[in-house]
């Protein structure tokens, strides 16, 4: 099965690129913005200023390429915990994301103009939900799509299959994006499935399935753009398998040295999606060190401002525990709320 690629490992275009120069620059900026957040978030985590954090280093292109095709007020994003890069590109404010990984509920609700559901922790549960979102958008006559992300491990879950089946039966305008990063924590893909390509599973549901080089932003972007166009036109869902690699640990609490070789990680680092896209831009005469330095400074300023904004949010108050359980406080929640305000139990 073909693996769709547009760029060589060093970024040299293999063929004509289906994007304008200004689009390519925008795409690179989105990649760098995500990487900057990830690097700085890990520093915050080590300083004790974030909770457990799942880094996405190496998987930027697989996420950014899809999110670049979506409109936050129109379309929907249902990410797993690995998709902070998709969330950033989709329009989630950085301060909200910092709060979210700080386990502060102030970061759990997307702004009204961003249709992103809070990061899902249980594996693949969001696939049937995304099918439902997509179907509801269609029933309401909106030409909008939903995009759902899971990892290769998620394809072992029943909800992955049930969700794909529902999406296909109802022609739901849905993108199911599987980031095949080789590992479900310590279990390699070969121990998760016999099939060589996850995209082949699409055949079981009668929908298109494509495998794309997930470290090639141009390839992911092009494939996702086509899938979004199909979905908007009422032609149903697409399964996208993005071949990529989790260079970083599963979370800030994980030690990948226990289960994989560093040689493997090093080999993948040589195919870094950002170096590759920069190589493409340099090849096309669109980028240089000066521009890189200016971008770096801009991103750092943006990040520091976001941290300051997040720091200004006061810690959650005890009674927030029982708020938003129901639309209105019910008797048991009311009693707890009173107690948490200093009243009697």
């Amino acid at each position: 099965m073909e693996i769709i690629r547009y760029l060589e490992d060093d970024g040299t275009p293999q063929r004509d690129l289906p994007f304008l120069p200004e689009e390519l620059l925008l795409g690179y900026r989105a990649l760098r913005r995500a990487r900057h957040f990830d690097e700085r978030a890990l520093v915050l985590q080590r300083q004790g200023r974030l909770g457990v954090y799942p880094p996405f280093r190496g998987q930027e292109a697989a996420q950014v390429g899809v999110a670049l095709c979506l409109e936050p007020a129109r379309d929907w994003l249902l990410p797993s915990y690995r998709e902070t890069a998709a969330a950033i590109t989709f329009g989630m404010p950085l301060s909200k994301l910092i709060l979210s990984w700080r386990a502060d509920p102030a970061g759990w609700g997307a702004p009204p103009e961003v249709n992103m559901v809070q990061f899902y922790i249980p594996i693949a549960t969001q696939v049937p939900q995304a099918a439902g979102v997509a179907h509801a958008l269609r029933l309401q006559g909106k030409e909008a799509v939903a995009a759902v992300f899971i990892g290769d491990g998620g394809t072992s879950e029943g909800d992955f299959h049930e969700g794909l089946n529902f999406a296909s039966v109802f022609d739901a305008p849905l993108l199911v994006v599987v980031q095949n990063n080789g590992w479900a924590i310590s279990v390699p893909t070969q121990k998760q499935m016999k099939v060589q390509r996850i995209a082949l599973k699409a055949q079981g549901y009668g929908i298109p399935g494509v495998t794309v080089d997930g470290n090639d932003l141009v390839a992911v972007w092009a494939v996702a753009r086509e899938a979004v166009a199909r979905a908007r036109a009422g032609e149903g869902p697409t399964l996208i398998e993005a071949l990529t690699y989790r260079v970083a640990p599963h979370t800030s609490s994980d030690d990948p040295g226990r289960y994989r070789s560093e040689d493997e990680a090093e080999a993948w680092k040589k195919r870094d999606p950002i170096d590759r896209m920069r190589g493409c831009l340099v090849h096309l005469g669109l980028w240089d060190d000066e521009k890189e330095k200016a971008l770096e400074e801009e991103l750092e300023a943006e990040f520091l401002a976001a941290v300051e904004e997040a720091d200004r949010v006061s810690e959650p108050r005890p009674w927030e525990i029982v708020e938003q359980v129901y639309a209105e406080l019910q008797p048991d929640q009311r009693a707890a709320w009173n107690y948490l305000h200093g009243g009697e139990a």
Binding site: V117, A131, V133, G158, E162, F166, V169
Partner: protein, 332 residues
């Protein structure tokens, strides 16, 4: 509440059908789906005639997959619709428990109110009609242990119609369990047209002074029969229909026990960890001063509901067991 209007004598499943019809007619956001609900009109005919009337976009069949039905419904609710999903039997909810526990009950909380789930999941439950394995389960206690959902179990056609319409209007997810035994087993006068009955209220079905029988769903009928038998012996039992299990109307239960001093809780799920245990615990916490005897539970045995129909009536609480429990609390 119910205005002056005409009534007709119909059974509980017809009342459910009327409520669904009225909800679809009134609110274009309401959609109805599940296994066999469309063309066939549901295995119990709860959605009979609704697909021809409202079309396949609003009333439709789904593939056979309970987790996806619930997950799909969650997504549709988040995206602005008011889904009413049917699970063919409450005992078939188990594959959907991850969706229920991880998301249905906590989506409002985990998105700080950004995304809410105004969803109703209807499912028939309970025994008494000689169904195969798993079809007679009463899993309400499992559902009641999920924060963020409401659980409603009507005991009559009139209550079913008004409560279901209230559940569909409710901004939170509601499990609406319908006792299979009552579907065609009870008929009553049901008001015509649209009306709602408040969720979160228990009601006194029969007034009495000797002891309180506290039940819901299919067990209310059994308690009423027990009360009739006892009355012939001069023992006046009060019968309380819990009706909404979550949120529980504890004050009405306490008020009844304050009057009678004795309580028997009747439910057909297995006894250990069943919802009757919750009721008994609340009475112990809030009504101890009124109690003149320990609260006694009459429940299913701690065994799977028996699929061997010849003896299933030994599992499901009946008038005899309820009256034995009444004698115990009265003799204390």
């Amino acid at each position: 509440m119910i205005a002056e209007r005409g009534t007709r004598v119909i059974n509980l499943v017809q009342a459910v059908n009327e409520a669904l019809d009225l909800a679809l007619e009134r609110d274009p956001r309401v959609v109805l789906f599940g296994e066999d609900v469309g063309r066939m009109g549901g295995v119990f005919r709860a959605s009979d005639g609704l697909q021809p009337k409202y079309g396949e976009r609003r009333v439709f069949d789904t593939p056979l997959a309970e987790s996806a039905i619930v997950g799909f419904a969650i997504g549709m609710a988040m995206a602005g619709l008011r889904p009413v999903a049917e699970i063919q039997f409450a005992g078939f909810l188990y594959p959907a428990l991850d969706q229920i526990l991880s998301h249905l009950g906590r989506m409002r909380h985990r998105t700080r109110g950004r995304f809410t789930i105004p969803l109703v999941i209807r499912a028939p439950y309970g025994g008494g009609v000689k169904t195969p394995e798993q079809h007679a389960d009463s899993p309400e206690a499992i559902l009641c242990h999920v924060p963020g959902v409401k659980v409603v179990i009507p005991s009559s056609p009139e209550r079913a119609k008004g409560l279901l319409l209230a559940a569909i209007e409710d901004p939170d997810p509601v499990f609406f369990l319908e006792a299979i035994k009552l579907y065609r087993g009870v008929k009553a006068e049901v008001p015509e047209g649209y009306y709602t009955l408040p969720l979160g209220k228990a009601r006194v079905v029969r007034e009495g002074s000797a002891a309180s029988l506290i039940a819901y769903g299919g067990m209310v009928e059994v308690c009423q029969k027990a009360a009739e038998v006892a009355a012939r012996e001069g023992v006046e039992l009060e019968v309380i229909d819990v009706e909404t299990l979550v949120p529980l109307d504890t004050p009405t239960l306490v008020e009844s026990v304050a009057k009678t001093g004795r309580a028997v809780v009747v439910y057909e799920a297995m006894r250990t960890g069943g919802f009757g245990a919750e009721i008994a615990a609340r009475l112990a916490e809030e009504a101890l001063d009124y109690l003149q005897a320990p609260v006694v539970r009459v429940a299913g045995w701690d065994a799977p509901y028996p699929p061997f129909s010849a003896v299933e009536h030994y599992y499901r609480p009946d008038v005899k067991r309820v009256l034995e429990a009444v004698r115990r609390v009265l003799s204390h």
